[in-house]
Every structure is written in structure tokens, then in C-alpha cells.
């Protein structure tokens, strides 16, 4: 538990019971929402998205393998197999960490380190398709191996951008109370 004497934010929460009335009470309630429930909501969205997308691939790893192959990232089948075998489970693992609130900042950083390159390779492939087939960029759709089947790439990139914004916000958000173990190496 945070010490109210050393942590002004904790002191603020200690007076933020729902029984509190008046202007000061309103302010405390807002503070409680933004510092407790909004981060919980944000990491639940990011975590749930990763668990869902990861599970879609875990349930059909051979299809995911074929989809990864289409990106032409490598000719080495050991590398290709390793990506297709481990990445879905890794996504589920990171999603669960965020969902339960374990090592939230570290997990957010790892998730960002996945989302950024994923988005870049999807963007690159979509741009290639748009130019080779004379399509408008937002008309391009294919199964990007992201876990949701065939999808409009504009929409997918928007979704990824939203998830990345949440991830960045979680990196800088204040320490959260409703987390199992917010910081892994906390004293």
C-alpha cells in the first residue's frame, strides 16, 4: 500500500470515498477515476486485444505460418517456424500480463515493440499491393495474419495506432492501484 505521507496521490485517494460531498468530493472522484479506473480500462483493452489476437493464431498455427510466409521476411524455415510457433503464445502471455496488471510498463513496452514492426510490414505490403494493382490504399484488404481474418488494411492500421497510443500512455501513466503487481522489481 502507498504511504499517504510520502505519496500525495495516495493521500488524495484516501479521502476519495464515494460518501464525500461538495466540490472537493467531485474533484476526488475524478481523480480516482483517472488514476485508478482509466488505466485499468486502458490496459484491459490492450491486454484483451492481444489475448484475443494471439488465441486466434494459437488455434490455427498452420494458417498463421502460411500467412507469415507471405510477407517474405525470411527464407530460413527454422526462423519462419519459430515466429509462427512462438509469436501467438507470446502475444497471449503479454496480453495476460497487461490484463492482470503485472509488470505493466515493461509489458506495454514489449507490446509496442511488437505493434510497431507489425504495422510497418503490413503497411509496406499494403502499399505494394495498392501500387501493383492500381487500388486506392484504403481499398486494399487481405488477411494480414493479425488474428482477425481478412480485413481492410486502413482499418487495421487505425486499430494498431489506437493500441500503440494506449501502450505509450501506459508507459507514462501514474502507478496503478488495481494491478496485481504493477512493477516487477518494486521493493
Amino acid at each position: 500500500m502507498a504511504n499517504p505521507l510520502t505519496n500525495p496521490m495516495a493521500a488524495d485517494h484516501s479521502t476519495s470515498g464515494f460518501e464525500t460531498t461538495g466540490a472537493a468530493g467531485e474533484s476526488s472522484r475524478k481523480s480516482s477515476f483517472w488514476s485508478d479506473f482509466f488505466p485499468l480500462f486502458a490496459r484491459s483493452i490492450l491486454g484483451a486485444a492481444f489475448v484475443y489476437m494471439g488465441m486466434q493464431k494459437v488455434l490455427a498455427p498452420s494458417e498463421f505460418l502460411s500467412l507469415v510466409r507471405q510477407y517474405n521476411l525470411t527464407n530460413n524455415y527454422l526462423v519462419l517456424n519459430s515466429i509462427a510457433a512462438a509469436l501467438p503464445w507470446f502475444e497471449v502471455f503479454c496480453g495476460l500480463l497487461l490484463f492482470t496488471g503485472v509488470a505493466v510498463r515493461g509489458a506495454s513496452l514489449v507490446v509496442l515493440a511488437m505493434l510497431l514492426p507489425f504495422s510497418i510490414v503490413v503497411l509496406k505490403r499494403a502499399l505494394g499491393m495498392a501500387s501493383s494493382q492500381g487500388l486506392a490504399f484504403c481499398a486494399v484488404q487481405f488477411d494480414c495474419g493479425c488474428g482477425g481474418g481478412e480485413i481492410n488494411i486502413c482499418r487495421k492500421l487505425m486499430e494498431n495506432s489506437g493500441l500503440m497510443l494506449i501502450g505509450i500512455w501506459l508507459l507514462f501513466a501514474p502507478a496503478q492501484k488495481l494491478a496485481l503487481r504493477y512493477a516487477l522489481f518494486a521493493p
Binding site: N72, S82, F93, L109, V140
Partner: protein
């Protein structure tokens, strides 16, 4: 200041990356659907096979030129492509009933049970398991072997044919790949069977219609 802020986050991220990777590989090894890391699932040259699938982003673009490309690619690898009419011709051939012509469906078990070409053997290319022995035994006396998957972007039939030729030593002259697969077979309204091999159950019956 930045260092103080990011150092513990980086430390956490490294621990998550290592632990996550170990758990991910362990989960894959334990999962019944896990991939075999050491198996080359795409015996065909990856770089030459992949652009074809790249060029088919939507169902609407799976047009004739793409099929011609697939046929050319198969021929390049020493495989013989079949179109729907040629596949149907083999299906209607009396030798099909005698086991001298066989069809092999290389899609997953669920897809096979939902609908397959009547009498086709099932051989899940990604999880061959015990089916490989039965399929190879059926291939030995056969004069013609038609391998198919879902058609379109699917290339499991091509890889399965290469596997049968290169690893099970089935002569390439006997192997044919039906490029249209179940998608085209269904579109042509050719007969399909649900359930197990030779169950006699039509797809409509299995849906209770």
C-alpha cells in the same frame, strides 16, 4: 532523468521477453496443434512460391491469370496441374472406384469432415500423424493421385505433392494437383461428401436440409 525512468521498464521488458519466449516455445511443444520447428513445411522454394500468394489480396482478385501462374509454377516444380474439368474426368473414371485413381484432401480435419470430394483420403498436411501410412499405402498401387486443398491461396496441395514425391518416393508422374480445390469443385456443384471417407453422407444431409 530519462535513464532513471526507462531503466526499470527496460529491465522488465527484457525479463518479459525472455520468460515469454521460453513459455511460448514450451506451449507450442505441448499444444496438440503445435508446429514442428524443425520441419520444412514449404519444401518448394519459399521465395518463388510466396509472391503468388502475395498477389492475391482479395477473393475477387483470384482470377484466371493467377491460376495460370499457379499452373506454371507447378510445372516448374515437376508437378502436373489439373483444372476442374480434368479433375472431374478422373473422378468419373471407373478406375476411381478400383483405387487406381485416388484423391487426397490435405485440408484440416474439420474442413474435411464438413465437405470433401467423395471417397477422397484425408491427409492433413500440417499434422500428418497416423494418416501418412494409410495414404502412402493407397498411393502405391494407384496410377494417378490427385491432391487438392481449398484452392485459391491455398498451397498445401502443392507442398503435400512434393512431400509425397520427395519423401515418400511416390513417382512424380503419378501426382496431380487440382489447383481449384474444394472452392471450385463446390462452385461447379460437383458432388461432395460429409463426415468420414465413403460415409455416403451428402453435405446437405449433414446440415439437416
Amino acid at each position: 532523468m530519462v535513464k532513471i525512468f526507462f531503466k526499470p521498464i527496460l529491465r522488465e521488458a527484457v525479463v518479459i521477453a525472455i520468460l515469454g519466449a521460453v513459455l511460448a516455445f514450451a506451449a507450442n511443444a505441448l499444444s496438440p496443434k503445435g508446429l514442428n520447428i524443425q520441419r520444412n513445411y514449404f519444401p518448394a522454394d519459399i521465395s518463388s512460391a510466396a509472391p503468388q500468394t502475395n498477389a492475391t489480396p482479395t477473393r475477387a482478385t483470384n482470377t484466371v491469370p493467377a491460376e495460370e501462374n499457379v499452373a506454371a509454377r507447378l510445372k516448374e516444380k515437376g508437378l502436373q496441374p489439373l483444372n476442374s474439368a480434368e479433375a472431374r474426368q478422373r473422378f468419373d473414371d471407373p478406375r476411381y472406384q478400383q483405387g487406381l485413381i485416388i484423391f487426397i484432401d490435405v485440408r484440416n480435419a474439420q474442413e474435411y469432415e464438413e465437405a470433401h470430394i467423395p471417397g477422397a483420403y484425408h491427409f492433413d498436411y500440417y499434422y500428418p500423424g497416423n494418416e501418412i501410412g494409410q495414404v502412402v499405402a493407397a498411393c502405391q498401387p494407384a496410377e494417378q493421385i490427385v491432391v487438392y486443398c481449398g484452392g485459391g491461396k491455398c498451397d498445401a496441395s502443392e507442398n503435400a505433392a512434393l512431400m509425397l514425391r520427395d519423401r515418400a518416393k511416390i513417382p512424380g508422374t503419378k501426382l496431380f494437383v487440382y489447383t481449384g480445390g474444394t472452392t471450385e469443385w463446390k462452385e461447379k456443384r460437383f458432388p461432395m461428401e460429409a463426415g468420414g471417407r465413403n460415409s455416403g453422407k451428402s453435405v446437405d444431409e449433414s446440415h439437416g436440409r
